[in-house]
Symmetry: C2
Subunit: 188 residues, 2 copies
């Protein structure tokens, strides 16, 4: 019974409480999205598959005239989640970073053009860092009130990671400025 990684996003979210597919997607968008994204096109079919496998149990929960279906973990689902969490299997690590890719090939660029690319890349990472920082108060509250410490720890890591990349861009940006105008740098 080999499950895709995205199945565990769903199982994990369901352990935190009964949820609809829509709610799972909303949660993912403000939490795991930055290191594991998921779209409706994955979540709804995956919920159906997990139900057929007996790992989750769905229940109609219409609210007014609004059709609604909430899911919860079954005992099997709980076990599958724990097995994955404690598994020693090599972790799936994947990074696709267009900015670093451009950097790799940018020897042919003029220093000014390269500096502009560093700036854009830095700004993009700074924006993500700010988005994550905006979420922090809510995560800190959840850590306090519901004892969910790890989501906050992971969020802090996410912020540190974004800043780490942004700092590297800033250093590269400065280096370009110095090599492009060494005389001006000496004067200052």
């Amino acid at each position: 019974m080999e499950l895709g990684k995205t199945a565990y996003v769903i199982l994990g979210m369901l352990r935190l409480g009964r949820r609809t597919g829509y709610e799972i997607k909303s949660l993912v968008d403000v939490s795991t999205r930055f290191f594991w994204a998921a779209s409706y096109g994955q979540i709804y079919p995956e919920l159906a598959r997990l139900e057929k496998l007996g790992l989750v149990r769905g229940r109609r929960a219409d609210s007014g005239g609004r059709r609604r279906k909430t899911y919860e973990l079954t005992a099997d689902g709980e076990r599958a989640l724990d097995d994955w969490l404690t598994s020693p299997a090599p972790l799936h690590l994947e990074l696709r970073h267009e900015g670093v890719l451009k950097a790799f090939f940018s020897d042919a660029l003029a220093p000014g053009e390269r500096a502009a690319q560093w700036r854009r890349m830095r700004e993009q990472h700074e924006r993500v860092a700010q988005q994550l920082q905006a979420i922090e108060p809510g995560a800190a509250e959840a850590a306090d009130e519901r004892g969910e410490r790890m989501p906050l720890k992971v969020l802090e890591f996410g912020i540190a990671y974004q800043q780490f990349v942004a700092d590297w861009c800033a250093r590269m940006e400065r280096a370009e400025a110095e090599s492009a105008a060494p005389v001006a740098a000496e004067r200052s």
Copy 2:
């Protein structure tokens, strides 16, 4: 004429010199792989597409009885590459990290189990860091001899990034050890 990002990996590699599909793949595996991977299943069809678009030019270059086809950039290909390198479009940034995903959901785990996961994740990042360090001498040589500075810079970033994540794991690991055995920690 919208090109996929992987097309630029090919164009970028071809700017460094005439290459076969096989050589491009080998190069990717020791350089861009860590932030932009590509497989034969992408490279060969993409080369054919780029040739039809007039961005690369293929030429038979059999070596003995070995069928071989080398490619080089056309003027259009060179322009497409530079346009991409200097484009201000938002960068494609994608991260899928199973270790962080597990961390996010690991509140329910025992501290010892969590510590074991930190250790595995740290070791995995340390292994990648070592792989990258093994490549460094070659990249440093290329930087010196052929003036290709950026691949070395990017490699150094890759190593720093792997170590950054490994360090975070190590800190988390220590924190688990302290919370699991605070008395032992005080004694030592």
